[in-house]
């Protein structure tokens, strides 16, 4: 988080601060007549096992955009929200649906341009085998670690709620993924809700999966990883955004057609072996671009898909939790989805 606060340099903050409404998120790029390409693109990313890591690792984005890419590593989607609000990030890769729902509700000026993956079982509750946790009520009196504000946090709270458990009965602790692994290894917590690579490390150190995702998805707790673009950036450089999505599509192709080669490249980026990377990747449901354009997901330009409802449902839950103040109309979430670049990227 420190990194971002520093990179949000004063001029941009001031601009953002004194601007009016939507204009608060004025682009920080130099003014140019019909500027077609930016000189520099600030991209926020996670260290995680996903095809996006191929596009990053192989330097494809530099090639297709002809711009200098400033890669900013983040630990949570909330950091991406803050950085985009301050105008210091243009593209957020892999931001979860929970922070995105929060961001759109607070009218941070960005749009969803891509659904990278349906998280499904890739983020899941893991419990200590020795603690003998077999049914939800076995969690009473236990400590569960989770990075607050994440999709995993959203799922865990949904799990507690749908099973009639309160946070007085189950202690939910805020731990970032590295601290989560440390706390697990010391035996300070008996359960965790998190993603790979932390999840794999926990499973390897005396943990087992407690399956929650299928029931939660049916109950409406769908979570996904997305790509968002700062609205002012997407409007100024539509071609650049299309080029970035093309690189993402190509990376997904590498994973689908040559999984072993992909796992090798991705593993190096995420700091895990190719085997671990492959096992992690297999848990995600990466949504092919054509499928994203279906009515179940993002839909097409002019016909926004049902994912807008998922985002609003997530926002309603966050408002119940008092994480955000109010839930806007469905139309706000529909306007927050822009499928034009995606459509162009596969044309």
């Amino acid at each position: 988080m420190t990194e971002i606060t520093i990179s949000a340099h004063r001029r941009t903050l001031l601009k953002a601060g004194i601007g009016l409404g939507g204009a608060a998120l004025l682009s920080a790029v130099p003014r140019r007549v019909r500027a077609a390409t930016p000189d520099k693109i600030n991209i926020a990313f996670f260290t995680e096992t996903s095809p996006s890591a191929i596009a990053k690792g192989e330097g494809w984005l530099e090639d297709v955009t002809k711009a200098k890419i400033n890669w900013i590593e983040v630990g949570s989607g909330a950091e991406i929200n803050t950085a985009i609000a301050a105008g210091s990030v243009d593209i957020g890769v892999g931001i979860g649906s929970a922070p995105t729902a929060a961001g759109l509700s607070q009218s941070i000026g960005y749009q969803v341009i891509y659904i990278r993956d349906n998280i499904g079982p890739a983020e899941e509750l893991t419990v200590r085998t020795a603690a003998n946790i077999k049914k939800p009520s076995d969690l009473i009196g236990k400590k569960v670690g989770v990075p607050f504000g994440s999709t995993s946090h959203f799922r865990l709270l949904g799990f507690l709620k749908t099973n009639g458990l309160t946070q007085k009965q189950v202690t939910v602790l805020d731990l970032r993924s590295d601290a989560l692994v440390a706390a697990w290894q010391r035996g300070d917590i008996d359960a965790a809700y998190v993603w790979a690579p932390a999840k794999s490390k926990i499973l390897a150190a005396g943990g087992e999966v407690f399956r929650t995702y299928d029931k939660l998805e049916k109950a409406g707790y769908v979570i996904a990883d997305l790509i968002v673009a700062r609205t002012a950036f997407a409007e100024a450089y539509p071609d650049t955004v299309v080029a970035i999505l093309k690189a993402e599509n190509r990376a997904l192709d590498v994973w689908t057609s040559t999984p072993d080669k992909a796992a090798d490249i991705i593993g190096k980026q995420a700091g895990v072996t190719a085997d671990v990377a492959k096992a992690d990747l297999l848990e995600y449901d990466f949504v092919a671009p054509k499928r994203q354009l279906e009515a179940n997901w993002l839909g097409t330009p002019g016909h926004v898909g049902r994912f807008a409802e998922v985002l609003q449902g997530t926002a309603k839950f966050l408002a119940e939790q008092k994480s955000i103040r109010t839930v806007p109309d469905l139309s706000v979430f529909q306007k927050g989805i822009n499928t034009v670049p995606l459509t162009k990227s596969i044309a």
């Binding site: 608060a24 609000a85 939910v172 602790l173 601290a179 706390a183 300070d188």
Partner: protein
Amino acid sequence: MPRRLPLRACTALSAAVLIAAWLVLTWGGYVRDLFLPPPGELWDGFMDLLTDGYRNRTLLEHLEASLWRIFAGFVTGAVAGTLLGLAMGYWRAVEAIFTPYIEFLRPLPQLAYLLLLIIWFGIGETSKIILLFLAALPVSAVAARDGVRNVPLQRIHAARSLGASEWQIFRHVILPSALPEIFTGARIAVGVVYGTLIAAEIIAGSSGLGWMILDAGRFLRSDYVFVGIILIGLMGLALNWALVALETRVVHWAGR
């Protein structure tokens, strides 16, 4: 020469200008509430926190949790640091042994060794208080050491020629002479401990004002963030006043 404005008026004027700027910027619609919440929203946020608390804990519980950590970390760190500093000032050998660690620890950012503390001491209160202890210790130690070292030699010589024992010299000459610096060190230590509070509460948070600010910030709940900052700031002022009051009572002779 115009007459000098009374100092209190200057303070009042500065506060009035700040508040006026806040009102103009927020009510005038120049700044979105995301960046700076208007007074009404801030008040609502405060009342919300007072009645419903934050994440299953009341505001008072968060305040208590933070105060307890600050108190425990500061007291243990300041006492241990002062004792160590006195010894370092008095015996050159002790100083030679501990100086490298103290000087190394003093400028070290606490976040650097946060994960190590979690691995060594777990995610409970222990690691949080140790972090604050480590923040207070070197500051107090350096202040006490310098306090001892700056005692005028004539005083010690005078006491010795009057037949005072080493213990009497320490108890009646060195310690009182070093006290003003020890107190200054304590006040700086409170500041450092205070600044470290948020780092300490990052460790498996679920309570404390520092954690509340951090967690609310994640969702850009700037109303809660501002309420938290104001409370934490006022608490810091109160602590500093308490120490100043104690200082004027105990070392009332200082500076005379």
